[in-house]
Amino acid sequence: MWLIDSSIGRKFIMSISGIFLVLFLLFHSCMNIVVIISPSGYNAICGFLGANWYAVAGTSLLAAGFVIHILYALYLTYQNMRARGSEQYAVKKNQNGVEWTSQNMFVLGLIVFGFLALHLYNFWFRMQFAELTGLHTGMFDAADGASYVKALFSSWIYCVIYIVWLSALWLHLTHGVWSALQSLGLNNKIWLPRVKVVANIVSTIVILMFMSIPVYYLLGFGA
């Protein structure tokens, strides 16, 4: 199967799953920003998603996207370390124009994944999971997302943790978005700098929307 056996096939899967996850982040961040504008509107969205069949189907698809992206990342990184060989250079300098992010995507991915586990525990476990199983895992009603957001971000430590997490995600996306397009072959000499600018804009918009929420609570507006 060329999607596993060939290097470009593997990169194709990495790109497609990455783009899928970026689209999800766009949706997620648009949804989140509502909590600032109108907490009751945000709860309406939480109720609309919840344990309805389409939300469960969407979540399953999303989980599959994450799993594929992570498994391929592990496989690609393992192969790349093997291709590098056992002997390392005694002196190795970085080149101008090579972004730090592009050389540390796996590390950034690990950071994002680590915080993701915390994030799932903070929200998903107390909301969709609670609705699915009928268990009371949190202190509020499962669809009362706004209360959960407010409770979590009333602690400045959580605000800072989320800001750090989102910064790592931003770095991951600034390389990931243009790299995905390059791996799909949707690039050329003229579009190379343009694609990078588009990637920076997309990732910055997504992260600013996400980050506005902990910052909003950190500054005391949501209290």
Partner: protein
């Protein structure tokens, strides 16, 4: 203006492919800043021979930057700290008096060390043999102007064809990927009418061979382009991806 400098050289010595190598330090005095790096290496070897020591084995041939033989990883950069040149075009004026210069062979699983600074770059030849050619059927030669080629395509093909197959891209890549080399070879042919016919087939064969030989997966860091002595653009990698993916989807 000629000037001479004294340098300390830390050079990788390895007696054979299976032997464990190590760095040896040599002192070389009165090196002319007008001499090339390889001339400096010749002087050092002369000195070693006079001291009844084994000279350092290194690859070199044309010494004018077109054969792609000279392959040294100097002070953390393939082909040395200067940009867009090969090792043979590197001059000693790029180094300071008293500087310690570290010289290593290409290090990549697909380029095993043969001896000292020499590596086996046969892997690149095998990739070319897999599909980096145009099948020619003999017959009458058509007029060169019968098939118009746009200036843009001709320039792009020539830029790709400037690749000399030195191996700096795979040597510097943190993933040991040969994508820039393969992309240049696929592009130079795919952009022109003669090579276009077999383009899809060629991309599949060359990528399959590249993977088989143990080169890594490209993660678009761009280090290859930054170190390439011919400044081959990573936009060719996008073209290779495009060729390969569309060929696979057509199957």
């Amino acid at each position: 203006m000629e000037k001479s400098i004294n340098v300390t050289l830390k050079i990788w010595r390895q007696a054979g492919p299976k032997v464990k190598g190590k760095f040896e330090t040599y002192k070389l005095d009165n090196v002319s800043t007008d001499s090339s790096f390889l001339e400096m290496m010749d002087v050092l070897n002369e000195q070693l021979i006079n001291e009844r020591k084994e000279p350092i084995a290194f690859d070199h041939d044309c010494r004018e930057g077109i054969c792609g033989m000279c392959s040294m990883f100097i002070n953390g950069h393939p082909h040395g700290p200067d940009g867009e040149i090969t090792t043979c075009q590197l001059h000693m004026r790029n180094f300071k008096d008293g500087e310690t210069i570290t010289v290593e062979p290409w290090r990549s699983a697909a380029f095993p060390v043969i001896r000292d600074l020499m590596v086996d770059r046969g892997a690149y030849d095998k990739i070319i043999q897999a599909g980096g050619f145009v099948s020619v059927n003999t017959g009458g030669v058509p007029d060169g102007n019968a098939i118009p080629i746009s200036k843009v395509d001709a320039d792009e093909a020539m830029d790709a064809a400037s690749c000399i197959g030195c191996g700096a891209c795979a040597a510097t890549c943190k993933n040991g990927s040969a994508m820039l080399f393969v992309a240049a070879k696929v592009s130079q042919l795919a952009l022109l009418p003669q090579g276009r016919v077999e383009a899809a087939h060629r991309a599949k064969l060359m990528v399959a061979k590249m993977d088989e030989l143990g080169f890594g997966n490209c993660t678009n860091t761009g280090a290859c382009e930054a170190e390439c002595p011919k400044n081959v653009s990573i936009s060719h990698i996008a073209r290779l991806n495009r060729e390969f993916l569309s060929a696979k989807f057509k199957d």
